[in-house]
């Protein structure tokens, strides 16, 4: 997987210290220039060969020190003197023997940048001595998004009469500063439609529009907003927004799985949980804690809330590669909740943001210490399905548990018992890159397990040193040339047996052995370790020190032979893993096939063996780097960081994410909420608030919203209310040329944005106006994509990650592969084809035409009026009436007759109009 990340190990080490330097001393000229122009060039064009794994020409360009030191040809920079600097000569491409980068000349602007930088003195931020915390952090703390959320005073405005809520002052102040004015309020019908689609994703009825138009009381709109927020449909609308962030899907993405085999029978319990807690206005900080650690919260949560953990567990399976599964969890948590792209730090320190690889593995440790339990908890512990099902389900669970137990004992025992085979193999072969790629190899029962082989290799690399009391002789013996081994070995042994620090058991074994080859050495160690292990099994009491040291090599948690039970499957033979996978599939299938199977939470629990993480060098699990504690990100920890103290640390993580001094979580959330209300977010990249995202124009407003949001107990409903009751929200969406010219993108919010219905709102609205919408809540997913007769809200449709239905893709549904920051919006003819030809839309057109309000109308005029009232919540004007009645009374347009009657044809036309599809 390290292939997929930027290979460049960039140590922007140089930038790092910039911050502290900047704070302590006056700014160094050129530093800013370095940050802006030079660092990206070095990263992009130089460090691949001059730094990281390769150091061409002895030149490293990965830290300030290295840059000054130069390479084999001496210093490459003479500060102030570009003409004398080798680096400049190289990038200019004038010297036939020195052209850098070799892949192609830089642009003249880039070369000029290098020249300017050297002329300015080649300023490079000082390298910080302690690099265990990415020193970038210091420099980056000044980034707007990492600074504390400020409770700003509301700015003063001239047109105070326009201000309805505090939001308006921030918006108006910006408009006034640029000589712009807000738009007039939207008319009543428009405002009502806007609020309905926005909050519940459904249109108002004609009667509701009438009532609102006639209600002149000052709090009429506030009452509408409160009613909509209290409606059960609110959670379906806003919960679905959250499901985009949670990359929710109902299916597995396993290969060669089809149909029901693909369905995760209880995924829907997470979707239902989200809808339910949005409706109950669960404070957002609590919502975060439940999604990350519902199982760890004290006092224990009601059992149904354990479904919250689906946030972590419902991602892709990545061919059962655990590292990718964990990466997906880190990614969803960091981008989804914090607006940080932590996954970039999987293989190297983050290229732009203050996220060192160490921080990635701190979070890795949290999720590697958590596992999906075999028996998922019931949402209602007392619930039971039909007896026959329960019996079969319990039996299958038992079968799986039994196989797991047996296999774990067998495979762990084999791993220890075959220590000599492992050591001989490691001693006599070169590392095979396939060793670490076990997850796809087909293993025969007798094969050595590649991950164990890899761990023995790194164990020996660590332990076989010249002074080690156990592996010291190994080290010296393996240093001998192969040809003269048998003659030179006795002298080494002789020397070692004299040394008092040598483990007496090792001494004894080596003396007793015949060592003709290096393999004999490995075999001797192996047999010794095995013997000590076997003997200890039969003995009581604690072993002496010499025994204990050897025993630990096979028995401790750090032993290469050790693996946690949860990973047993990786060590099974092909036949066993297929059988095991088959049983798991059968278990799920039992639940899929039994509609009455009591729902279970897609939970996570802390593993019995917690995992103490260390960095994987370049993301390669076989290359262990420094050990790191399970802890939170350095950049978001203001005081001294403490390792997470409780179990896996999931609850600590959730607490850190929602802590009062975390500047990101609230900002990221209010930005999302704003985006759904206004169609555009305040910060353009809702999942990335890192250094590359510049301070938004409306940063003050963002901070104000975040402040109020937290002060109001992280209540989403209060936030919606604050926004909807503002004059800003209630503006008309019509264009005003003078304002358009000044601000074509409406970033200053001088009008409302016209928004198109998304897939869910479109389909639900079609059903609503045809009078067929089924408002049943919750439950197993249904087929909304292929069944034209399905009448449920779209949020209950099956989300098949591996094969997203055409309808979903055509209408820009968010990809459930990754946490989605926002949906793209396309306009393509396939959307029109759906409207014109799909059995679903044709069905709605027929049903709309058949509604009693239409059917009982006496004549064409009344029928047209009824259709407009139902589909668009208004009456047609004279011209529309003329066009409509003309179509109803027109003769057939050809000799063939259509199945759809003219009335149904007109109904369909109204369903296809832009007025239907867009909300002003």
């Amino acid at each position: 997987m390290y292939r997929t990340c930027f290979r460049l190990s960039l140590v922007l080490g140089m930038a790092l210290a910039g911050g502290s330097t900047l704070q302590a001393a006056p700014p160094v000229p050129g530093l800013e220039f370095f940050e802006k122009e030079i660092r990206p060039l070095l990263v992009e064009h130089c460090v691949k060969c001059h730094g990281g794994e390769r150091v061409r020409g002895g030149l490293k360009l990965t830290s300030g020190q290295d840059l000054r030191r130069g390479g084999d040809s001496g210093p490459v920079i003479v500060p102030g003197k570009p003409e004398e600097s080798l680096l400049i000569k190289a990038v200019r491409y004038n010297d036939p023997d020195l052209k850098m980068p070799p892949t192609g000349k830089l642009t003249s602007a880039q070369i000029a940048a290098f020249e300017t930088w050297v002329r300015l003195g080649a300023a490079i931020p000082q390298e910080e001595a302690n690099s265990s915390i990415n020193p970038l952090a210091a420099a980056s703390r000044s980034h707007w998004a990492f600074r504390p959320i400020t409770d700003l005073p509301t700015p003063s405005v001239r047109n105070a009469g326009w201000v309805r809520t505090s939001i308006d002052t921030f918006v108006l102040a910006q408009l006034e500063a640029r000589g712009l004015t807000p738009s007039p309020p939207a008319d009543r019908r428009t405002l009502l439609r806007r609020a309905y689609f926005d909050l519940i994703g459904l249109p108002p009825t004609w009667e509701e529009v009438q009532a609102f138009e006639q209600d002149t009381s000052p709090d009429a709109f506030a009452r509408v907003v409160d009613r909509l927020l209290a409606s059960p449909q609110y959670g379906e609308r806003w919960g679905r927004h959250w499901l985009d962030v949670a990359r929710y899907a109902d299916t597995k993405d396993g290969v060669l799985m089809y149909g029901d085999d693909r369905i995760r029978p209880f995924a829907y319990t997470y979707r239902d949980y989200v809808i339910r807690v949005f409706n109950e206005d669960l404070p957002f900080d609590r919502f975060v804690r439940e999604q990350l650690a519902a199982d760890l919260i004290q006092p224990p949560v009601e059992p149904w809330r354990l479904a919250a953990l689906g946030f972590l567990t419902l991602g892709r399976m990545f061919d059962n590669n655990i590292h990718d599964v964990i990466d997906d969890r880190i990614d969803t948590v960091s981008r989804g909740l914090l607006g940080l792209t932590v996954s970039c730090a999987r293989c190297h320190d983050h290229k732009y943001d203050p996220i060192p690889t160490a921080d990635y593995y701190s979070l890795y440790g949290v999720f590697a210490s958590s596992e999906v339990p075999l028996v998922l908890p019931l949402l209602d512990p007392a619930a039971r399905g039909p007896e026959a099902f329960e019996t079969k389900y319990a039996a299958k669970l038992h079968e799986i548990q039994e196989m797991l137990d047996t296999q774990y004992v067998l495979l762990s025992e084999t791993a220890r018992a075959r220590v000599a085979d492992y050591l001989v193999h490691v001693a006599t072969t070169k590392p095979d890159p396939m060793e670490t790629a076990i997850f796809f190899l087909s293993l025969a029962p007798t094969d050595l397990r590649p991950p164990i082989v890899a761990r023995w290799r790194s164990f020996l690399a660590r332990r076989a040193t010249a002074d080690d009391p156990v592996f010291g002789p190994w080290h010296d013996l393996f240093a001998l040339p192969e040809e003269s081994f048998s003659t030179a070995a006795p002298a080494v042994l002789e020397r070692w047996t004299q040394r008092p620090q040598l483990n007496p058991l090792v001494r004894e074994a080596l003396l007793a052995a015949r060592l003709e080859t290096k393999a004999d050495v490995a075999r001797t160690y192996g047999h010794l370790l095995k013997r000590v292990y076997e003997e200890a099994k039969g003995t009581q009491g604690s072993p002496d020190a010499a025994h204990k040291v050897l025993l630990d090599i096979l028995m401790s948690r750090d032993s290469p032979a050790y693996f946690p039970k949860s990973q047993t499957r990786r060590y099974m033979s092909r036949a066993d893993t297929d059988a095991f996978g088959g049983k798991l599939r059968e278990l799920d299938l039992l639940a899929v096939k039994e509609p009455q199977a009591p729902p279970r939470a897609m939970a996570l629990v802390d593993a019995a063996d917690l995992y103490d993480p260390h960095v994987f060098i370049r993301g390669n699990p076989a290359r262990a780097g420094v050990a790191v504690p399970r802890q939170f990100l350095a950049i978001l920890t203001s005081e001294r960081r403490k390792p997470f103290a409780h179990g896996s640390g999931r609850l600590d993580l959730a607490n850190a994410i929602t802590a009062a001094d975390n500047p990101l979580t609230a900002r990221v959330l209010v930005n999302r909420v704003w985006m759904y209300h206004f169609g555009e977010p305040l910060v353009d990249t809702p999942n990335d608030f890192g250094l590359r995202t510049s301070r938004p124009l409306q940063a003050d407003l963002l901070d104000h919203l975040a402040t109020v949001f937290r002060r109001d107990g992280w209540s989403l409903k209060k936030l919606h209310r604050l926004i909807l009751l503002s004059s800003t929200y209630q503006q008309a969406s019509f264009d005003r040329p003078e304002a358009h010219k000044a601000d074509p993108d409406n970033r200053l919010l001088w009008r409302a944005n016209r928004q198109r219905l998304d897939l869910e709102a479109m389909r639900d609205t079609l059903l609503a106006v045809s009078g067929r919408l089924d408002l049943t809540q919750y439950g197993r997913p249904v087929d909304v994509a292929n069944d034209p007769l399905n009448r449920r809200r779209t949020v209950y449709g099956l989300v098949d990650r591996q094969s997203l239905p055409t309808m979903y893709r055509t209408f820009d549904f968010a990809s459930p592969d990754l946490s989605a920051e926002r949906r793209t919006q396309t306009t393509v003819p396939q959307q029109a084809l759906f409207g014109m030809n799909s059995p679903f839309v044709i069905r709605q057109a027929r049903d709309l035409a058949a509604r009693p309000e239409v059917a009982r109308s006496a004549d064409a005029v009344e029928k047209v009026k009824a259709l407009y009232r139902l589909a668009l919540q208004r009456l047609p004007d004279a011209e529309e009436l003329r066009i409509g009645t003309e179509l109803l009374t027109a003769p057939a347009s050809g000799p063939e007759k259509s199945d759809l009657m003219p009335l149904e044809q007109l109904a369909q036309v109204l369903l296809l109009t832009n007025e239907f599809m867009f909300v002003d």
């Binding site: 970039c344 796809f440 990249t685 306009t827 393509v828 044709i842 832009n914």
Partner: protein, 466 residues
């Protein structure tokens, strides 16, 4: 058609800005003071002069054996029944002694490149084909290697090259999808092979199950089940009138205009899409040349599609992984090649006759090759071969490709690419290059990074560029 807002687009195209056609369109939109509206499938200029304008990828999924097709290894005969002196490399399963190819090789054309009897018909075109005999990938397993070959990554959700190309160049016909995938059934790892991942969904490949034969069954919603053509035309006319009235006070909003246009496009698409997939409209002689078989029809559809401006057409050989001959390769490969050789030769001839060959890139190969050593089933030779990602052959022909060339080589026995090894990333860089795109500059900013098809890898294989 609203696609991405201008500022979103500016943000996302990152370093590709200015080179990427989309950005240019956005600039035009800005100049005209219209809202930033871009048809994501509108044709766009490449970064530099393209040698090929479209791609047909004949995908022999499952992994055809290089030593039985395009990479002759007579030395295997010498070791028949014996372990190769160089040893066997780690692949998915256990392998045993050398297994010489049961197929005869012969020199073809002026270039004298040797090709096995399995592809005797295709071999007629040998002087127009460039063979990369030193392809290599990362892992000997189908799912990972399929995704690598298609998306440049084995497991993570990355856009397929077809999606990238369509993102970069758009399509030349707005009545058809830009990227079409033909397969009788579904290859292993199914949709992930042509996904758009974080690119907008419109760039995802449109999968057509070519087991269906009726044109209208191939594309969803392309036929109206309840209206006559005349009634539908009248209906759309009414719709346009109503939409125009609605549009009047909202004239600045190009999204409304785009949607109005999309209905007209859709109306035309009904006719054109049906037509494109209807091979019965081809002259009898042409149909006979391709053959009235599934693969004959499939490749003929491919030609009809690219002729109409579809950018990328992939043609998978079959459901799951047909070329996966673990057992009895003599029989299995003979059958499979028998299905595709004739249609493939006909396709190349047809492209040449129609003047399409010069600017159509034809790619042929699998996700990996197969082992020169025999696969062992329960310790006994199964007379088939295991997966082999260490070395295999992919060939290219057509637009910008230097015909009659062989690039790179595997070792004496065809196990591993040793001379000028070409990784899948390099193949991708080359495909983009032939289409006039810099693989390092076709980027998309997502989740804080500028992503590209070749990630941080990729070298254009200039040796095959004419």
């Amino acid at each position: 058609m609203r696609f991405l807002s201008r500022r979103e687009m500016l943000a996302r195209t990152g370093t590709g800005l200015g080179l990427l056609g989309l950005a240019g369109l956005l600039a035009d939109a800005e100049r005209s003071h219209a809202a930033p509206v871009v048809n994501p499938l509108a044709p766009r200029q490449p970064h530099f002069r393209a040698r090929a304008r479209r791609v047909i990828h004949v995908y022999l999924n499952g992994g055809p054996s290089q030593v039985d097709t395009f990479d002759p290894k007579p030395a295997l005969k010498k070791y028949e029944g014996k372990i190769l002196p160089t040893g066997n490399l780690t692949t998915e399963r256990a392998t045993g002694t050398a297994l010489p190819s049961p197929f005869a090789f012969k020199k073809y054309g002026n270039s004298g490149i040797e090709i096995s009897e399995l592809f005797a018909k295709t071999a007629v075109h040998v002087d127009d084909i460039a063979f990369i005999r030193s392809m290599h990938a990362n892992t000997p397993n189908h799912e990972q290697s399929m995704r690598l070959m298609n998306c440049g990554d084995e497991r993570l959700s990355r856009p397929s090259y077809g999606a990238w190309v369509t993102y970069g160049l758009g399509a030349e016909n707005q009545n058809l999808p830009g990227f079409v995938v033909l397969c009788p059934g579904m290859p292993v790892a199914d949709v992930s092979n042509w996904r758009s991942a974080f690119l907008p969904g419109v760039f995802q490949g449109t999968h057509i199950d070519t087991r269906k034969t009726r044109a209208q069954d191939l594309i969803e919603n392309v036929v109206n089940p309840a209206l006559t053509k005349a009634d539908q035309r009248r209906q759309l006319d009414v719709l346009t009138v109503l939409n125009r009235r609605h549009q009047q006070p909202r004239a600045e909003d190009a999204a409304l205009e785009a949607r109005i246009q999309s209905f007209e496009l859709a109306f035309r698409m009904q006719a054109e899409a049906t037509d494109a997939f209807d091979v019965t409209r081809e002259p009898q002689a042409v149909r006979e040349r391709y053959g009235d078989t599934l693969h004959g029809r499939q490749l003929l559809i491919a030609r009809r599609l690219i002729e109409r401006g579809v950018r990328v057409v992939q043609c998978y050989h079959g459901d799951v992984q047909p070329w996966d001959s673990h057992n009895n390769i003599d029989k299995e490969h003979r059958r499979l090649a028998g299905e595709i050789d004739g249609p493939l030769a006909a396709l190349l001839t047809d492209l040449k006759q129609r003047g399409l060959f010069e600017d159509t890139l034809v790619i042929c190969g699998g996700e990996f090759g197969r082992t020169p050593a025999v696969e062992l089933a329960n310790g006994k030779p199964a007379m088939g071969r295991d997966h082999n990602h260490w070395g295999f052959t992919v060939w290219l022909a057509g637009g910008g490709v230097k015909g009659g060339t062989v690039v790179g080589a595997t070792d004496e026995f065809g196990y591993k690419a040793v001379d000028n090894p070409i990784h899948v990333h390099d193949l991708h860089a080359t495909i983009l290059h032939l289409l006039g795109l810099y693989h390092e500059k076709l980027t998309y900013r997502y989740s804080g990074r500028d992503y590209r098809l070749t990630d941080v890898e990729g070298r254009v294989v200039k040796e095959i560029v004419a």
